[in-house]
């Protein structure tokens, strides 16, 4: 993985804010000038005041031309969904954590790398929902992503969907730094919260047999209570189906499922790298006349009521 050019991201966001939010950008620039050693206390205040200094409107696609490099590393396209105050907060976090970066050549101010990490933790612990989600979404642009695993673990234990989703769907941290136990908790929690499983970052790469067992157990529990299941809970199971038992399980389940779940099984089998899977997929399609959708988003767009 190539090292991100953090200073370049900082410069781009700064220029973008000056162009689109000149008043706020000037207030922030003046604040930076007043606090040349930008320590934790100065960072907390600036971070908080962004809600007063910058607009509530979404950044949208308007910033694309100013954020060429930044957009190219925005793998989960969070920036267009941010508000201007969120973009400013990301810049403040970047400015505060830049001295941690291996490429940083400037002078370090008062805070040590350890102080900087613990300041981010304090910020997370006192954050509101939007701020905490923004912190998690910002990790992709900060040189301290691996230092925030504990906070990301907390976020995916939360029942606050926005916060859960910021880690699960909008950040590389779980795929790259969660151990298997943490990973499996994340996927199960997505099912508990009825949040998309297929859209979890790294859901295919991190799939594992233990998780499949846990999902099957969860399915038994929900079925015993006659409760609904997420349509995409079948994807991790089908991706790993590589023997007759696994096929039989899916065949038996499939006949009783809504069309959306059936489509998920067929697409997952079709995408599977297991040699037999494609054959099974064809069989399923023929025996049950389930259409093969091209993408997960196509299935997600189907109405839940189709049966």
């Amino acid at each position: 993985m190539t090292e991100i050019e953090y200073a370049r991201v900082l410069d781009e966001i700064n220029a973008c804010l000056h162009h689109h939010q000149p008043q706020g950008a000037q207030k922030l620039a003046a604040y930076f000038d007043q606090h040349p050693t930008f320590d934790a206390r100065a960072m907390y205040f600036a971070f908080g005041m962004c809600s007063r200094w910058f607009a509530k409107d979404l950044v949208g696609a308007t910033a694309d031309s100013a954020l060429l490099y930044t957009a190219s590393i925005d793998n989960f396209e969070v920036i267009p969904r941010w508000r201007w105050r969120d973009l400013a907060r990301c810049m403040i976090l970047l400015r505060y954590t830049l001295p941690i970066s291996a490429l940083y050549s400037g002078e370090d101010s008062c805070d040590t790398p350890e102080t900087r990490i613990s300041a981010l933790q304090k910020l997370f612990n006192s954050a509101d929902v939007q701020e905490a989600a923004l912190l998690m979404q910002s990790l992709a642009f900060l040189p301290c992503v691996q230092d925030c695993v504990m906070q990301a673990r907390e976020a995916v234990r939360s029942n606050v969907i926005q916060l859960f989703s910021a880690v699960a769907h909008d950040s590389p941290i779980a795929q790259r730094f969660f151990d298997d136990n943490s990973w499996n908790q994340l996927v199960l929690k997505a099912a508990f919260l009825a949040q998309p499983i297929h859209a979890i970052v790294g859901v295919r790469e991190r799939n594992n047999a233990e998780l499949v067992d846990m999902l099957k157990d969860y399915i038994r529990e929900r079925q015993a209570a006659s409760r609904e299941l997420p349509w995409d809970i079948w994807a991790p199971i089908a991706w790993l189906a590589d023997d007759d038992d696994a096929l039989n399980y899916l065949q038996q389940q499939c006949s009783n499922l809504p069309e959306k779940s059936q489509a998920a099984i067929v697409l997952a089998l079709h995408e599977s790298t297991m040699p037999q899977a494609k054959l099974w997929c064809d069989q399923l399609q023929q025996s049950m006349a389930i259409p093969l959708y091209a993408q997960w988003s196509d299935i997600a767009a189907l109405s839940d009521s189709i049966s």
Partner: protein, 292 residues
């Protein structure tokens, strides 16, 4: 549509949220007032404040109610100086957050020198963060405490319209109104005010700068008292326009001075798209599960 501008939702159940939404309450303001729990550490207080701006706001949103809060150190905690100092350090972390509409609830309890010290320090914070102040008037020696509170506010350069004096009664209402302050009443069935008394106050004093709240908390209290009192006012031949002032508009006007609360927040659901908890794309096309 009603606003309950003083209610401790952290102490209430989801059934309450549902009943409040059904009764027409669109927004609530939860002032910081440490739950009835041991009060020994600034860290637990910080966690409490974090839950006011985090979890509780999310919980309310699940029932279509907008949740705002006031942040402050209560007079009861002010009497433990070491704890109070530590809490004062934490407050600036929270005062600039979105949806924080006031410094509060602050004021006097026993009227000790320490209470006065931290009341004054928080008035300065309100000026620094440009926020209104929500004042809790004391249960003991109420009129004297209320007048002292207003004197101190003015000494610190706050204008009466920046300050909400809460928990008024028949004995304090005239002084508070005459000096130009927002005059709030807590409908607390057994102790503070009853709905019938409130009807009489509105008939006598009108609706300018007067509004009501439930202050419902972990004790015996009623989260529907704003809606119930509104109904009683309507039955008692108070006009719908006056009821709207007392049960909605005045509280909104008082706290919108913070710039952190606006009718658009609940009238226009698309106003802040990033707050939609259902997610932002077709990829996330599932509704959050609200447990019954």
């Amino acid at each position: 549509m009603y606003i309950d501008p003083h209610i401790h939702m952290s102490a209430r159940t989801t059934d309450d949220y549902q009943a409040m939404a059904d009764a027409g309450i669109v927004a609530v303001i939860e002032p910081a007032f440490w739950l009835g729990q041991p009060r020994t550490s600034a860290d637990t207080y910080r966690d409490y404040l974090a839950s006011l701006v985090g979890w509780e706001r999310f919980r309310a949103s699940q029932f279509g109610i907008k949740h705002y809060c006031a942040i402050g150190l209560n007079s009861k905690e002010a009497n433990n100086e070491a704890l109070a100092e530590a809490v004062m350090d934490v407050l600036p972390l929270f005062l600039a957050k979105e949806g924080v509409v006031a410094v509060g609830e602050i004021g006097f309890d026993e009227q000790t020198p320490l209470e006065e010290k931290y009341f004054r320090a928080q008035l300065d914070l309100a000026k620094q963060f440009d926020l209104p102040v929500m004042v809790h008037t004391p249960h003991r020696d109420k009129l004297k405490g209320t007048i002292l509170t207003m004197d101190i506010c003015e000494e610190h350069g706050l204008k009466p319209e920046q300050v909400i004096i809460d928990h008024n009664n028949e004995n304090t209402v005239k002084d508070v109104l005459d000096r130009g302050y927002w005059t709030a009443f807590t409908l607390y069935p057994q102790t503070k005010m009853g709905s019938e008394r409130m009807v009489n106050i509105v008939k006598q004093y009108g609706t300018e700068r007067i509004f009501i709240d439930s202050s419902a908390d972990w004790g015996v209290s009623d989260p529907l008292s704003v809606a119930k009192t509104a109904n009683l006012m309507l039955q008692s031949e108070i006009s719908a326009a006056d009821v709207e002032m007392v049960c909605y508009r005045n509280a909104l006007n008082a706290y919108s001075q913070s710039g952190q609360i606006s009718e658009d927040d609940w009238k226009d659901a698309s106003f802040d798209q990033s707050e939609l908890f259902e997610g932002n794309s077709v990829l996330r096309g599932q509704k959050p599960e609200v447990k019954a």
